[in-house]
Symmetry: none
Subunit: 213 residues, 4 copies
DNA sequence: GATGAATGAGCGTTCATTCAT
DNA sequence: GATGAATGAACGCTCATTCAT
């Protein structure tokens, strides 16, 4: 499962157990203080491991952030695939994806925030891996948009479609970056999310001038 | 000018000169290596100051990031005000603002990226200050949207208007966060920017189904 | 056989088997990286043992270097005794010893180097044991020199004889300490060895002004 | 003076003062415990510096051993040059060099021992530098031997001459490696040194069968 | 007001050793 | 008698901050 990061431990089940401890603990600490302000000791504590034991399962602090990224992005991808699978028509599938993205981003704001802020803390090779996963995610939206336009009999503009895929996957993240302000300025985040969904749907010409949520 | 950060120095002109040196130097270093990987020594060198002298104008490393934030966000706000001032009708003003936002974000990608990634390095009080400035910026968009809708004679939906203001000011930042991916997938960033602009305009019902750039 | 280092294991045959594994593995690792840069884990791996098993046969890392010293110096002594046994007259025996010493040192340069460099890593008591073995070796040369001088009918100068014994056994080691330099400056090590032999023979007045090798 | 090792300090006089403190302190610690068993903290203490201050003058623990090597070998070279300068004829100069080498090695046994044992602890580049210095030293002996043979009108055998240079510079070191044994077995080290000198002189055919010291 | 050497707490990491299974 | 995960003290090193000059 977590094969790409080398370990001194031989028992693969134990590796999974401990790595999950590490991921949970690290995520808590990283969210609270950011990668650079988190010490390995804190992470070990949060993971319920001793320093020495932690280092039996990773080789460096950077390995920790990498396995956290791996796990979180995998989990997000799987949630998304699950959400789509349950929908029927291309239109429903696209809408389901947009909703899923919104609710996931909302639900895991802290984690999402962490992902965006600390990507620079990954080493070169890890960044490549993570970007590849991100691209997968975007391409999923591309596919959904393509299917939708085909079904609608609309002409597909490649550039527009691909830019839209980027925008659609990212726009919900704005909620995360502006959350302090949004919470103060709006009664419920659900309303905000509806408005964002509308904005996105209009943006891709889904709806022509329907009014509201 | 830079009064909010305490200093040991009496001569106010000197304070401004030195603070600007610090800001320019620090920005260069921060963009290259991030806040945590930049040492105060490097910042001092980049600013053309000695360690001791630097500490005559700031009290801590965190002061540095704060004055950089202050300066950069002020500069962005001023550029925006300038851009709007030159436009005529509410519609032109809004469009000018959207374009200005896009081009500024594009031009100062590194700086924008730095602003977003390192906000966690600001202390509580600084964050409050910076968020207040950000809110000013958003409110500027709110005003432009309001004027535009009034002129158009459209009914103003408060929530939608305010969410849109958030989205419009932040969507261009997507370019920054996804730049590596976008550069690889698109021939020119100008095309991408046009598509983003279209997406935003549609999002706020500016255009009804025009097709293209 | 390896009784002096305490062990938890009862079966003496197994002790010998495992100790030999340890010695062979450790020697390989020590030669490659030196004592301090070798980890017990590496030694265990090289010996084909697990960490836990290794510690059933030694009590500490220092025990390992000690049993390696024991084994290597015993082996060198036995080779020397063998070489002498085969020679006839005192003169032949002395020359055989000098040649054997030279070729052994040449052949086992890495091991010899290790012995000299890492002696400081032995604990006080081990050093005493090892030095005693070394003295045996020197005394062997003393005996050979004494026999030779008696046969020659020469007056024996005790001090000179004993100092010579030290010099004769150690001069070949110069090859080891200066090997990089010697390799660069001379075509063949065989020539160098001949010259060293000549030098030693002259030093003990063996040869009076013969010229060459 | 100590230019080759980078430092954060600007005042060159201070660099020399502190580096000398470091060298003296480090040498004490290294001699007592060897390079690997010495901690940087111990070295800092022995040098009368704090950890942080020490690291203002060197960049790594390996830098410390390098500047120690530099200083010690320079000092040995200078002593040797001084000793030769004062002698007259080639014969006298050669003898002076041999004596100087013997007495220096005797006097600085601990330091010499350290030099020979810990050369492996130098990094690649430092080893090159140190070996170059060593070669200088050997070549000095080569030159003295050459002058001597020319003066004597003897035919010069290149290989023999060069091997002899190696042997002559190194043989005294045997005293250092065997010191515990020698001290026990001989009344005075002066006698031992005389015998070694004789051995060397005979080895290079200086003396033909004179008897004794 | 400028200088830059000094400080020391705290970081990431290693590894000899133990001991429950 | 073998296994290998757990341990934690100690290592080399960094760097924001201070302060005598």
């Amino acid at each position: 499962m977590h094969k790409s990061v080398k370990t001194r431990i031989k028992n693969p089940d134990l590796i999974d157990i401990r790595r999950n401890q590490i991921i949970q603990g690290a995520l808590k600490v990283f969210i609270a203080k950011g990668f650079h302000n988190s010490t390995v000791r804190e992470i070990a504590d949060a993971a319920g491991l001793t320093m020495g034991s932690l280092y039996n399962y990773i080789r460096s602090k950077e390995d920790i952030i990498f396995i956290v990224y791996e796990q979180v992005t995998r989990s997000l991808r799987e949630d998304m695939k699950q959400a789509i699978k349950e929908a029927g028509s291309p239109e429903e599938r696209l809408k389901a994806a947009l909703r899923q993205n919104l609710t996931t981003v909302h639900e895991y704001q802290d984690v999402i925030m962490f992902l965006y802020k600390e990507s620079a803390s990954l080493d070169k090779e890890s960044i490549r891996t993570v970007l590849a996963r991100e691209t997968e995610y975007i391409e999923l939206f591309e596919g959904l948009l393509r299917d939708y336009f085909i079904q609608k009999g609309k002409k597909i503009e490649e550039t527009r479609l691909r830019v839209s895929a980027d925008l659609l996957s990212y726009i919900p993240v704005i909620m995360t970056f502006r959350r302090w302000s949004l919470r103060r300025r709006f009664d419920s985040m659900e309303t905000v999310m509806e408005e964002i969904l509308n904005f996105m749907l209009k943006g891709i010409e889904f709806i022509e001038a329907e009014d509201g949520g």
